[in-house]
C-alpha cells in the first residue's frame, strides 16, 4: 500500500474516530460562569490593549453605515492625495509585500536546489574544500558546522532577491532528452551575474477531485536537471488544493546521481500556502545514504519589499545525528549592493557571522567572518 493511500484512509477513519464532548464542556463552563450564555451580545474590545472603552457590537444597519462612512472618507482622501502622489512619484512609500512565486518558479527552485545539494553530498565532490584563513580562536560550533551551513546557503542563495527567479517552460525539441517539456530556470549570483539551469521533464495528472468549493489535483513527474554540464535524475509529485480563497501547494522532489542507485538521494518537500494575503514557503531537505536518513534541514523563507529596498529573511534548522542548529539569515539588497548577516543558535550556543562572495585564484568562494575574528572561505 502506498503512503498516500493509507494516509487518505487514516483521514477518513478520523471523521468517525474523534470524540466530540462539546455539550459536556459547555454545561460545565456555564455552571462555572466561564462563558456568556448563548445569544447574548458580547461587550468585548478587540484591540490588543485591554482597558480601552468596550465597543458594543451593534446590528447590521450600524455596520453598513460605518462602512459607508469609511468608503466615503477613503474617496475624499484619494481625491486630495492622488494628484500629489502622482506628481511626486519618486517619494511614494512602497507598501511591503511578500514576493509571490509561480508554480513553475517553485518547481524550478525545488529541482535546482535539490540537485545542487546532491552534487555537494557526492563522495567525489570537490566543493567541500575548506580553507581556514585565520586560525580559530575557539572551538565555536558554528565554525565546526560551517560547511553544512554553506551547502544549503549555496543551494538556495541564487534565487533570493528582487525579481531574481525567472522560469520559462517550453515544449521540448531536444531529442537527447525523452521528455515533454523544457524548463529554463534563471537565478543570480551575488555579483549580479545571471545563472541559467535547464530541466527536461514530463508531468502527468494522477488524481483529481472537485467537491463544492474545493479543488484538489495531484501530478507525477520525471525528468533530468543539468547543472554545470552534469545530469541529475529528478522525480516527484505535486499537489494543488484550493478551498475558497485559500490555496495550498505541496511539492516533493527526489534527485539521484544514478537511477540504478536508489539508496543515495536527496528528497525535498516543499509546502507553500496563501491565506489572507500572507504567503509562507517551507522547504524540508532530507539526505539519504545507503537508504538511511542521515541529515534533515527545514528552511522557511519570507521576502518583503520595504521603502525601496528588498529584504529576504530565511530561517534554516538542521538536524544531523545528534547535532542541531538554527540559523536566521538576513539578506539585504540596498543600492545594488548585497549584504548577508547570519544569527545562529547551535545546541544553545548563540552568535553571529557575515557572508560575502569573493574570488580567489579564479574560483568563487563564500567567505564567512565570525565575531572572534575567524574568517573561513569555502568553495561555492
Amino acid at each position: 500500500m502506498k503512503n498516500k493511500d493509507y494516509l487518505k484512509q487514516l483521514k477518513k477513519e478520523a471523521e468517525f474516530d474523534v470524540s466530540d464532548p462539546y455539550s459536556k464542556i459547555i454545561s460545565a463552563a456555564e455552571a462555572e460562569n466561564l462563558l456568556q450564555p448563548a445569544n447574548k451580545p458580547v461587550d468585548a474590545d478587540l484591540d490588543a490593549g485591554r482597558g480601552n472603552t468596550a465597543v458594543r457590537m451593534s446590528g447590521k444597519r450600524r455596520l453598513i453605515a460605518i462602512m459607508a462612512i469609511a468608503a466615503a472618507a477613503m474617496i475624499v482622501c484619494l481625491a486630495v492625495l492622488l494628484p500629489v502622489m502622482l506628481k511626486n512619484r519618486n517619494n511614494i512609500t512602497i507598501i511591503p509585500s511578500p514576493v509571490q512565486l509561480s508554480t513553475d518558479d517553485v518547481y524550478g527552485i525545488g529541482a535546482v536546489s535539490t540537485a545542487k545539494l546532491l552534487e555537494y553530498n557526492s563522495p567525489d565532490s570537490k566543493k567541500a574544500a575548506k580553507n581556514v584563513i585565520n586560525e580559530p580562536l575557539s572551538d565555536n560550533r558554528a565554525i565546526a558546522q560551517i560547511s553544512t551551513f554553506n551547502k544549503y546557503y549555496v543551494a538556495l542563495d541564487s534565487f533570493f532577491g528582487d525579481d531574481v527567479v525567472k522560469t520559462n517552460t517550453i515544449e521540448n525539441t531536444n531529442p537527447s532528452y525523452p521528455y515533454d517539456k523544457q524548463m529554463n530556470i534563471t537565478g543570480m549570483n551575488s555579483d549580479g551575474a545571471q545563472i541559467i539551469y535547464t530541466m527536461y521533464f514530463t508531468e502527468k495528472l494522477s488524481d483529481s477531485e472537485i467537491d463544492d468549493n474545493k479543488t484538489k489535483k495531484e501530478y507525477l513527474f520525471t525528468g533530468k536537471m543539468i547543472i554545470d554540464g552534469k545530469e541529475y535524475y529528478i522525480e516527484g509529485e505535486r499537489s494543488f488544493e484550493q478551498d475558497g480563497e485559500e490555496t495550498e501547494n505541496e511539492l516533493k522532489i527526489r534527485a539521484y546521481n544514478n537511477l540504478n542507485d536508489r539508496k543515495n538521494y536527496i528528497e525535498m518537500e516543499q509546502e507553500n500556502s496563501v491565506e489572507n494575503d500572507e504567503t509562507e514557503t517551507e522547504y524540508v531537505y532530507s539526505i539519504y545514504s545507503d537508504g538511511k536518513l542521515i541529515e534533515q534541514t527545514a528552511i522557511e523563507l519570507e521576502t518583503e519589499r520595504k521603502n525601496g529596498k528588498e529584504q529576504t529573511d530565511y530561517e534554516l534548522e538542521f538536524r544531523k545525528g545528534n547535532a542541531k542548529g538554527k540559523y536566521k539569515i538576513m539578506r539585504e539588497v540596498k543600492h545594488g549592493k548585497t549584504s548577508v548577516k547570519v544569527k545562529y543558535d547551535i545546541d544553545g550556543e548563540k552568535g553571529e557571522f557575515s557572508v560575502r562572495e569573493v574570488k580567489e585564484n579564479g574560483k568563487n568562494k563564500n567567505e564567512f567572518t565570525f565575531g572572534d575574528g575567524t574568517v573561513i572561505g569555502i568553495n561555492k
Binding site: L34, Q36, A48, S273, E282, S286, E317
Partner: protein
C-alpha cells in the same frame, strides 16, 4: 480571523469565539490526548478538562503569541496528569482497566488508526495524526509540540516508514 484573535475574545467569555476555537482544535486536542493516555474514554475526559482549563485561564494567554502551542501545552499537561493519576490508582483487576494492561481492546478504532497506535511511538502517532488528519504543516506541529521542525520531519518519516512496513509485511 486568526485563532489568536478568537483567544482575545474568549477572555470576555465570548461563546462564538469558543465555538471557533473548539472547531479549529478539536481533532488536534483529541489526538494529542489519545497519544498520551491510550484510550478513547480517557482522551475524551482529557479533552473536557483541557478546554475547561483553557477557559479558566484564558486571561493568562498573551495576545499575539502562538495560540495552537498554548492550547497544546494545556492538553499535554492535562493528559500527563491524568496518566500519572491512573497509574497510581491502578486496580489489580485487569478487566477494570483493560487499556492500561493492554488486554481486552475496549475501543473501536478504525483499522489503520489502531495499527498506527500499536506500531508508532507516542510522538510519531501524534505527528502523523496532526499532519494527516488535522492538516498541520511541520513547522506548526513543531510549535505545538515544542520540537524543532527537522525533528518533526524526522519522526514523520520514521512513522510513515513503520506504517508502510507494517502494512506491506
Amino acid at each position: 480571523m486568526s485563532l489568536d484573535k478568537f483567544m482575545t475574545k474568549l477572555k470576555y467569555g465570548d461563546r462564538a469565539a469558543f465555538d471557533k476555537i473548539y472547531e479549529s482544535t478539536r481533532k488536534s486536542v483529541y489526538y494529542i490526548a489519545l497519544s498520551i493516555v491510550g484510550d478513547k474514554a480517557t482522551a475524551e475526559d482529557v479533552m473536557q478538562n483541557a478546554y475547561l482549563s483553557m477557559l479558566r485561564n484564558a486571561d493568562k494567554y498573551r495576545d499575539g503569541t502562538n495560540a495552537y502551542a498554548w492550547i497544546a501545552r494545556i492538553v499535554k499537561n492535562e493528559a500527563l496528569n491524568v496518566k500519572k493519576r491512573k497509574m497510581r490508582e491502578c486496580p489489580i483487576d485487569e478487566t477494570e482497566n483493560a487499556a492500561l494492561f493492554g488486554t481486552t481492546e475496549t475501543d473501536d478504532f478504525g483499522l489503520l488508526t489502531d495499527l498506527a497506535r500499536k506500531v508508532l511511538s507516542e510522538d510519531e502517532f501524534t505527528i502523523i495524526m496532526l499532519a494527516t488528519v488535522c492538516g498541520y504543516k511541520r513547522r506548526e506541529i513543531g510549535e505545538m509540540l515544542e520540537m524543532p521542525t527537522p525533528t518533526v520531519s524526522w519522526k514523520y518519516n520514521n512513522a510513515t516508514a513503520k506504517m508502510r512496513e507494517a502494512l506491506n509485511g
